[in-house]
Amino acid sequence: MFAYLVKRAIQAVAVMFAISLIAFAIQGNLGDPLRELVGQSVSEEVRQQLRDELGLNDPFLTQYLRFVGNALQGDLGTSYFFKEPALEVILKKLPATLELVLGATVIIIGFSVPLGVYTAIRPDAVLSRVIMALSILGISVPVFLTAIMMIFVFSVEWGWLPSFGRGDVVHVWGYWETNFLSLDGWEHILLPSVALASIMLPLFVRLIRAEMMEVLQSEYVRYAKAKGIAPWRIYFIHALKNTLLPVITVGGVQIGTMVAYTILTETVFQWPGMGFMFLEAVNRVDTPLIVAYLIVVGFIFVVTNTIVDLIYGLVNPTVNIARMGA
């Protein structure tokens, strides 16, 4: 399936192109770089000269190509507020967000599969009914509200867990500082990742349950029973593999939502990640940082979605990119 790969690649490039256009448009219209550079008290002549020097009077295409060229070399401008390269500011914040997403993903995958499978296998059990009732409650509580409630209960009322920040982080490599190597780090990341997982987890439980129940009705599952295959094998080999195919696609779509929810979670917990930084940048009209965030997030989306597409192609024998050219 050569076409499959090329199509995904072309699509990824097209999306990045669209994002770069949007980013460029924002950069050109939001705020005034001159004011940031030299302040208000400069004469119009000097301003024009500066504009020429900065290339702000160049034709659109020249400016855009310069923007893309710089972006490809990792130059996304300098943050007005931090007075540092925007990309560097973001890269410093990136590990915090990624660890948060990682924590939430582990919770989601770790719980949604067993719960979804259980509720599908035993739809009438009391526990299944409880899980389903909780799941519909779960999808009805917005992430930020879950986060607030958890702070209220665990931090304010009971005082068990910290309510903001990353706590003690251990430096690993480069910009990467981790929460996972100290007890304090674990305590700090627990609530935010649970909060981040809180809306996605019930969604996946329900999705896996629905898919699994459909698969369990299928003829090939009945056939597996007629062959005398053990129940665990029917559930986890025959049914689960077919269940996970549609779940993977939906999961890919949810990565975007997850990054969006990090903004909410990070805001509530004042988690020093990209999302929190982005909102601050918006409030400060820190254009280069906004633009850089947009490009980095867009890039993450495109990469993860392409990977999910490829995984789907590998797992699904009917797409079969494993046997190229066949």
């Binding site: 699509q11 917005p142 409630m149 209220f152 990565i255 909102l279 918006v282």
Partner: protein, 314 residues
């Protein structure tokens, strides 16, 4: 010429359809209770100007000295503020009623916009097919993968930075409806397209073509009526999602301003006071929001069970 057949058909169709719906509705206590709660919240909030004890938009009725009174059952409460007051001294009950009304209006309008865009695009893509279809659906996939909330946050953030908070706050409600409405079109479009494709394959459509009917007639008279079930089901879920999206955006300060609070902005303004013990400013509107979204989701669940449409996935 077709109006003659349309009217009796429509009413009869409704009658049959509703009787089946009504029957399963009566038999399902969860659905009945959810509907009752939803109607209660909707009616009281829409009658807010008539039944609310205070008008939170009228500065003359607000006294900053009244701020942060707890609800009537707690210690140190003032009896005239049943649910206490917020940080600005507004009566919480009245503010919640007005805020709920705003949340519901934004949710419904946004879903209306989504439905309009999504159904038109879905019908077009499904019926015409070919390159247009693949293009539109790729766009929908990409749009979905970026998630509504992400698109909305970026759009609203940039808009706010561009126009300044004052102008932004004035038109916030329109921005919210527009961005939630536009960003979610793929949900409808994909569902409608999938149903249209499934229906188009069925032989009754072929039969209509062999009988010489035109594409418009086939679309509107034959395919659309058979595509309604999934549209109904996703519409409920979409309203719930839109209300959550609005609340989330307002919580981030990218939606309704504190002077005109929706449920989300109320929760947001109360969040700062949660550490000082004034939990009610956050918790009570939070509960209202959750109950509202929950009953809509429960109704959606019930409807999914009854209509059992094949929804688009993956």
């Amino acid at each position: 010429m077709s109006s003659y057949i349309e009217t009796p058909n429509q009413s009869r169709l409704n009658r049959i359809w509703q009787s089946h719906m009504a029957y399963s509705f009566r038999r399902n206590p969860v659905a009945v209770v959810s509907m009752a709660v939803f109607l209660f919240i909707a009616v009281t909030s829409f009658l807010a100007p008539l039944i609310a004890p205070y008008n939170p938009y009228d500065p003359a009725q607000i006294d900053i000295m009244n701020s942060e009174y707890p609800p009537a059952w707690a210690e140190g409460a003032l009896p005239e503020f049943l649910l206490g007051t917020d940080d600005q001294g507004r009566d919480l009950l009245s503010t919640i009623l007005y805020g709920t009304r705003l949340s519901i209006i934004i949710g419904l309008c946004a879903v209306g916009l989504q439905a309009f865009l999504g159904i038109s695009i879905g019908l077009l893509a499904g019926y015409i097919g070919g390159r247009l279809d693949s293009l539109l659906m790729r766009l929908a996939d990409i749009q979905l993968s970026f998630s509504t909330l992400m698109v909305a946050i970026i759009f609203l953030a940039v808009t706010q930075a561009l126009f300044g908070s004052e102008t932004f706050n004035r038109y916030a409600i329109f921005f919210l409806v527009a961005v939630i409405g536009v960003a979610e079109w793929p949900q409808y479009a994909r569902t409608v397209r999938a149903t249209v494709l499934a229906e188009k394959k069925k032989e009754y459509v072929d039969s209509a073509r062999v009988l010489g009917f035109g594409p418009m007639r086939i679309m509107v008279r034959h395919i659309l009526p058979n595509s309604l079930s999934p549209i109904f089901v996703i519409s409920t879920v979409q309203v719930a999602n839109a209300i959550i999206s609005e609340a989330s955006l307002s919580f981030l300060g990218l939606g309704m301003p504190p002077s005109q609070p929706s449920l989300g902005s109320l929760i947001s303004s109360g969040f700062d006071y949660i550490f000082s013990g004034s939990w009610w400013i956050t918790v009570i509107p939070g509960i209202v929001l959750v109950v509202l979204v929950l009953v809509i989701n429960l109704l959606g669940d019930w409807m999914r069970d009854v209509l059992n449409p094949k929804l688009y996935k993956g």
